[in-house]
Amino acid sequence: MEKRLMLGNEAIARGAWEAGVRVVSAYPGTPSTEITKYASEYKEMYAEWAVNEKVSAEVAIGACYAGARAMCCMKHVGVNVAADPFFTASYTGVNGGLVIIVADEPAMHSSQNEQDSRYYAKSAHIPMLEPSNAHECKEFVKIAFKMSEEYDTPVFVRLTTRTAHSQGFVNITDREELPLKPYVKDPKKYVMMPLMARGRHIEVEKREIRLEKDVENSPLNTVEFRDKKVGIVCSGAVYQYVKEATNASICKLANVYPIPVGFVKKFASEVSELIVCEELEPFIEETLKVHGIKCHGKEIFGKQGELSVASIRNKLYGITVPNADLTLPQRPPVMCAGCSHRSVFYILKKLKVVVSGDIGCYTMGALPPLEAMDLCLCMGGAITMAHGYDKARSPHTKNMVSVMGDSTFVHSGITGLINAVYNKGISTHLILDNAITGMTGHQENPASGKTIIGEETHLLDLELLCKAIGVKRVQVVDAFDLKAIQTAVKEEMAKDEVSVIIIRRPCALMLKGAKPNGMKINEKCKNCKACMAIGCPAISNNNGKIKINSEQCTACKVCAGLCGFNAIEEIKS
């Protein structure tokens, strides 16, 4: 058997391939994004970037009804978007196996909240498995597909950042080539209207009772007896921390929904004290308590952030580790040199407008020195919040614009724009079109005109789309043209109708061809620091003297537009 060092996400893709999966659909989202990219590298699997998580879920569900094994992948907040199809797919069950990968993010390294998707498993009555390392990522996906077909249910595999983004050795095997199952018309199972759904709800309950019984004997859940004074129940990456940090006996759960309660009860009877060690919500702890098992844990470990060997040792034994030096200058993520979003926020700040923002690289426009974003809630929210804000405050002066990236607009901005036009809104919307899903590491989307494997496909015409929606005023502006952006924003904000400004330039990290020489500061510089206002990482203040780092500079020339002394010029080759 061959052994390979793989990222958890890579192992998930491998598991799907080995399990004979034919269709993978996903929308990017940290920490789940890499799964689909890796999946697209296997010729035998069709993989696609869907436009959002609901779409990806429905594509996978359709593929599974067609008789294929299918998978969709998303970050925790993606499940909110896809929840509607999931809750009812739980009723229909499957034909080919259906596995949903959901990656939670305790500590929110790249997220807007810390929600715990285990509650989705419980409320949708969909079983959930949680692997604890890369090898288990691969194995659990394969087991999840078997479970899905055996119990006629979708199955969740839950990751957290640490399992998704850690590499470990994985034993790989061959693909199991499965024939497509026949599709047989069966409206009682696949057409969910009240009459049929009532019948299916009965099946869902029966299935859950069967699952609750069967997980008791699942070999995936294990106990390791060490010191019997304390027994710790845990799952996922936390198992690794607990094993390293303590000498306690361990009950490791792979079935996080439904939980093998009897199995834990037996373990509890062999240790003096039972502690549940879990990140985020007390999901396991609550279940055990409901079943009369005496345990505790959340009051020790808290609900926030990631656990670690150090934090567990600290909370259980008071052991401390050296502290980080918090006096040092922080290094937060920044818009790259040459980023097409920078100019927009410079102008919005200058015009002192209220900015309804959204999620993407451009969210960094909320940080100093630009600080030109007032709201940021969820993907697609910018346009709809702006419409609501304007409606609430009309007929007061209109002082809001919305800002949204191309990928986000396609994800869930379009419906909001239709809503604004339909309901006679007056809002102004900026679409920052850099032709890629930047934040999550450059995934293609309909505004890129390329598929996940780089094939040419139809390029979504954003202007035409907005016009078809009924937006009469659609302007397209060059992202590096400060004056044009300012004029367009002023013009459109003065109009009492919905308008769209598409601000366009490819992402600076996607530029092809030789790198430009970059810009330099010449002798006319008065050190007035006007160019520093855009927070470009290529421009620095060296003890009062302004310098441009030509290695980073992409010659976007936005800084030159701010200079009143013609002191920034392009380096000639």
Binding site: L5, G168, D325, P332, V334, P368, P537, E551
Partner: protein, 196 residues
Amino acid sequence: MENNLNILIAGVGGQGTLLASRILGSLASEMGLDCKVSEIHGMSQRGGSVTTHVRISKEVLSPVITEGEADYLLAFEKLEAFRYRHYLKKSGLLICNDQELMPVPVIIGVAKYPENIFEKLKAEGFNVKIISALALAKEAGSIKTVNVVILGAVMKIMGVDYKTAVRVAEAVVPKKLWEVNKKALELGYQCTIKSV
């Protein structure tokens, strides 16, 4: 090389710390040891502070190194060396690329880039080795090979023989980039390493 190693790689998003960690993983594989690698960063990459944790031993549990338990801190940038120094064991070795990248708070003038970082580290009792990886990367033909230059130097310090170093790097560097990276590895392996 020892059989129990915690190596923390610290740098700035875009410096290629992940490829460096993959080379170490490939080295662990060659030695028949277990290995886990974990990358920690905020908001994807975008010029923020990034660490990659590499743990090698007979059986690795947590993929993340505990503060105070790193045998090596490989810093791709000086401020990041300083920021993550609390991860090093007292007997650990800090290998630092002699490069300064200004973070935004410094660029916009609300914070100062710390001065005399190497001297301060030495005064705190750290064993610090310095390499000028940027110049060597340029010499190799691409500033993007800073990571491989550093790894070349590190593997030499760890006592990995040159042939093995080349083999483990070749196993993970994308084929079309191998020529320039091979040169970088060689320059790193042979470079003079200054002590503070």
